[in-house]
Structures are given as C-alpha cells and as structure tokens.
C-alpha cells in the first residue's frame, strides 16, 4: 500500500512539473550556497573543530542527504497533522484498520526533495575522493547503520513535536521549531567545547540526542570509528522510536475530535 501511495504522489507531483523544477532548483542552489560558504571559510582556515576541509564537506553532504530524506518522507505529513487535529479529520485516520503512526507520518512522499539524497551523496563521494579515503567495508557498514539510526532519531524527534499538536492545536510553528531544532544537527558536535558549551553539547548528545544525527555517520566514515558511540547511537535511536510512539499514543488520549 505504501507503494501505491508513492506512485500516487509522484503522479501528482509530475502534474505540477513547474513547481517541482523550481523546488529542485532551489534545493540545488541552497547546496551551492552551503558549498560556497564553506569553501570561503576554508580558504581562511585549515580546520573547523578539528574537521579538515574534505572531512567537513563529507559532513555537509551527509547532513544534506539525511535532511532531504526526512523532508521527503515525513515533513509535510507531520506538518499537516496539526490541521488534521484542528478540523477533526484525524478521525478518519483513527478509524482505519492500519497503524495510526504509519498513516500520520507516511501519507505522502515529497518527491521534490528526493534529489537531495543524490546531491548529498555526490558531495560525500567527492569529499571521500578528495581526502584520498581508503575503502574500508567496516566503516561503510557502520556508516549505513548509523545513517539509518540518524534518520530514525530525527524522525522520532519530529514525531514527538508533531504529537504536541494535539494540545497546541494552532501549531503552524512546527516547521519553524523543526528548523531551529535541526540547526543543532547542522554542525559537528566538536564545536561544543569550552566551559559553557560542553554541557550543552553533552545534553544534546545524551539527553536529547540530536547531535548524533549527522555527526556519528560522518565521523564513522571519515574520522573516528568509535564503537561506543555507534552502540549508543543504536540504543538511542531504538529508545527514541519507542518513546515517540508511546508518547503519540498518550497524546491521542487527549484528542478531542472537533466536529465540523
């Protein structure tokens, strides 16, 4: 059925071809700007928080691809959730004999952001080539595992925010909050050093583990292969998935089902 949904949304997206092209161009432009920004910065410095230029670019590509994946699969759907609660149309999803979480998070696929995955992948590959990276199957495997975990951690955080819409019905700021949230995932964890920054970094690594999302996969591939970090990432992603699901069901108990 997921396949059917995918096909349907692709058909609709293609119907609005112009829109699709604009979206893709803007994403491409945005990647271009990020690259330009970091190229400029690296012209003046040799490393940022001990990440060398090619390593950092791998990180950027990883973040871009991961973000693209989340946007493509989940962002629009979660965004719409507040509207469903407000109009009471959530009822129809709750009546169907299909898991509610799946219906809420996976209704549509935003194909406009799908190319981001490819774009991010290209940047990552280029960065690997530039750093003369040696192929290591262990690293690659660990990368894919932690990338998947990163996606699931990001998804769980997004889903937690979404569930809150049941109480704060006028939640148009979900998107805003999401972007602010991801402003953490955009940079290497290592910038959180120093007296007042380290506790913040620690908080966002072990309590609300957003800093694991793009950091660990990138680290694993091009820098430090730290088995403890990988283990923690896997544990965190599994627990966060479980927590966000439980929280969602808890939130549904407060659902008031607006009538027309």
């Amino acid at each position: 059925m997921f396949a059917a949904l995918g096909r349907y949304t692709l058909a609709r997206e293609m119907a609005f071809r112009g829109n699709f092209l604009v979206k893709v161009s803007v994403e491409l432009l945005w990647l271009g700007i990020l690259v330009a920004f970091y190229r400029t910065v690296f012209a003046s410095t040799s490393n940022i928080a001990n990440w060398s230029e090619p390593e950092y670019f791998f990180f950027v590509g990883c973040y871009f691809a991961l973000n693209g994946l989340i946007e493509m699969l989940f962002l629009d759907n979660c965004n719409e959730f507040a509207e469903l609660v407000r109009t009471g149309d959530l009822d129809f999803l709750l009546l169907k004999p299909i898991d509610e979480q799946f219906l809420v998070s996976c209704r549509r696929i935003d194909w406009g952001t799908a190319p981001n995955l490819a774009m991010g992948a290209i940047v990552m590959v280029l960065a690997l080539v530039q750093s003369e990276w040696v192929f290591d199957p262990l690293r690659v495997a660990a990368f894919f595992i932690t990338f998947g975990c990163g996606v699931s951690i990001a998804y769980s955080c997004m889903f937690l925010l979404t569930s809150i819409s049941i109480w704060m019905v006028r939640n148009q700021s979900l998107m805003e909050m999401w972007w602010l949230f991801t402003s953490l995932a955009r940079y290497p964890r290592e910038i959180f050093s120093g007296r007042w920054a380290e506790p913040i970094g620690g908080f966002f690594t072990y309590c609300i583990p957003i800093l694991l999302v793009s950091n660990v996969p990138a680290n694993v591939m091009v820098r430090v292969l730290d088995p403890w970090m990988i283990a923690w990432t896997v544990v965190a992603s599994a627990s966060l998935l479980w927590i966000s699901r439980r929280f969602f069901h808890f939130a549904l108990k407060s659902y008031r089902s607006a009538s027309s």
Binding site: F92, L94, K96, P97, I98, K253, S254, Y255, R256, S259
Partner: protein, 330 residues
C-alpha cells in the same frame, strides 16, 4: 454476549477560560483558569446484535461524544465500554475492521476524485477480496441508485449524493456494526428518505446492528424501535419510542364535543387550546384527567370525549428545551 456493553461511561473536558484583551492574555501566561465540562456522565446501556437504536438528544447533549467513545476516537475519562468484545480506545486492527462510523458533517472521501477511486483505495485498506468487493459495491449502488455518479468528482455532487457515497464507503467492508452520527443532517426530505430506506433494507438483508444519533424525529421514527434519550450528558430514557410519551408527557389533551355550543368558561379546568362551535380542546395535567373529566361530565352535556397524548415531537421538544434551560443556568 451483547454487541455493545457500556457501564458508567464518562467524559470530562477541561476547557481553558480565555480572558479578553492583552492584559488578560498576559495573565494567562502564568495563571490559567479551567472549567470542567462534563460531556458524558455515567452512561450505561447494552445493545444486542441486530438491534437498531437511536440516540436522541439536543445539541451538545453528549450523543456524538458517546458515539466517538464507542469508536475509539475519544478516550473515556472513566467507566467501561466493550464493543464487539473489544475495548474501543485500544483501537485494535481486527476491531476496526468490523465496524464503520459515518458522520453527517464530515467527509472521508477524497474531494477532487470520483467516489469510485476512493472506494478502490478503501478496498486496499480493508483488504477486501475483489469478488466480494464488486458484489457489495454493486448491491449498494443499486440500493441507493447512484450508478451515474461514481465517476464524478465528489465535490461536484450534491449534499444528498455525497451522503449516499459516504454510506457506501462505510459499508464496503461489510461491518457488523454501523454507527451513524447525524447522517441526514442538512439533507432535503427526499434524500433523507432515501438514506433511511437504504439503512432499513441493509439492516433487513445483513442484520447489521445500527446505532444512530439524530435530532430529527423522522429518522428515529422511520428506523428505530428503541430510543436512548441523552440530555446534558446523562441517559434519561432507554426503551421503545412510544414509552417516551408515557414517561415524559406531563399533559393530556381532552378533545370535547358538546351537545350545544362549547361553553366559554372552560379555562377554569385547564388550558383551552381550541374552541370552535361545539368542539373544544383542553390541555390538562395528566394526573387530573379523571377529576376534570368527572367535573365536565357533571356540568355539561357532552356528545363525545377523547383523551389524547401530546404528540411525540412536542414531548421531545419540551425535554430538549428543559435541558437547554438547565444547561444555560449552569
């Protein structure tokens, strides 16, 4: 085992009291006042398989909330409910396959597509085998007379036609229990009659249990033998339709036919509703029937007398009105 068992079911909402103006909003940041709204209070009833039951009550009585608790949409504050053997709020998949909820004011069909497409999607969602699906669909289309309309976009259909499509959508997966929330609201008399007929026929053919909420007497009279009256969140009556008059009717109407012209001083017996030529109608308290009749027979020469119950609509309207006044006073 009954198909629906409800015991002391309650739902209370906490509603935040919003204060006007900027200062009020500012104050609302650190101190909130809440009001408790008791939407449903300790309702209990049982429904057997194959019954057709109506929930009758004024707006805001709690009928829809009760229905939503039975569908698992709203989580009860206290009490128990068992529907088809399941606890509704757990929303088990097998549970959701066996019932359908139709809401008169909401559309589940996709707006821009023909109803036929939505039906196909539902077939996939409920995993209905093709043969059975086609048979059911054709049967329903026949029953409601909508062959030409399944190819049209839902938004182009009239309200009545849309409602028929909603009904079909609900019945496609062959539910054992059908819950309807104000299914004929906003429809014209013809469309209402069509829906009622469809429900009756379907009930006869399939023995589906039906529970519908309405504030239209016509729906209730056409379809249901048993009525549950809910006002202000509480169940005030559960039984056959006619019983309502006996239970709630406080007055009786005396239809009098005098030998001569009707006298003018009948007002001392009760409320004179009509006085024309030899006929007069007086409304009196139910308990005083024999007393008043006796007095009348003593004083006047009567050719014909009949004691009539007030019409059902009037009784129900009175119940609703009293509930509204009590609610406003609260």
């Amino acid at each position: 085992m009954s198909i629906i068992e409800v015991a002391d079911l309650s739902k209370t909402y906490r509603v935040f009291q919003k204060k006007d103006g900027f200062v009020g909003a500012l104050r609302g940041l650190y101190h909130r006042e809440y009001k408790e709204v008791r939407a449903v209070e300790r309702i209990s009833f049982q429904i057997e398989e194959g019954e057709m039951v109506a929930f009758l009550g004024p707006n805001g009585a709690g009928k829809t909330t009760t229905l939503k608790m039975l569908s698992g949409l709203v989580y009860p504050t206290s009490g128990e409910a068992r529907v088809l053997g399941y606890v509704p709020s757990e929303r088990a998949d097998p549970f959701r396959r066996q019932f359908a909820l139709v809401m008169g004011q909401k559309n589940q069909l996709w707006w821009d597509l023909p109803a036929g497409d939505s039906f196909q999607l539902l077939r996939e969602i409920y995993s209905i085998p093709r043969a059975r699906f086609d048979k059911t669909l054709n049967e329903l289309i026949d029953l409601l007379g909508v062959e030409r309309l399944t190819r049209q976009a839902v938004r182009e259909l009239s309200l009545g036609e849309r409602m028929k499509m909603e009904l079909i959508a609900a019945l496609l997966h062959g539910p054992r229990l059908l819950l309807l929330d104000e299914p004929t609201i906003g429809l014209d008399v013809v469309a209402q009659a069509a829906i009622q007929k469809c429900l009756r026929d379907y009930h006869e053919r399939r023995g589906v249990t039906m529970l519908l909420t309405s504030h239209y007497m016509r729906d209730v009279e056409a379809l249901c033998r048993r009525v549950i009256v809910i006002t202000q969140g509480t169940l005030v009556y559960d039984g056959p339709l006619k019983g309502i008059v006996e239970r709630f009717g406080e007055t009786k109407l005396l239809r009098l036919q005098f030998e001569d012209d009707a006298p003018e001083d009948l007002a001392r017996f009760g409320e004179v509703v009509r006085r024309e030529g030899r006929a007069a109608d007086i409304r009196i308290d139910r308990g005083r029937v024999s007393e008043v009749l006796g007095a009348l027979l003593n004083h006047y020469a009567l050719a014909d007398v009949s004691v009539v119950d007030p019409p059902l609509e009037e009784v129900i309207a009175k119940i609703f009105e009293e509930a509204r006044l009590a609610h406003d006073a609260a």
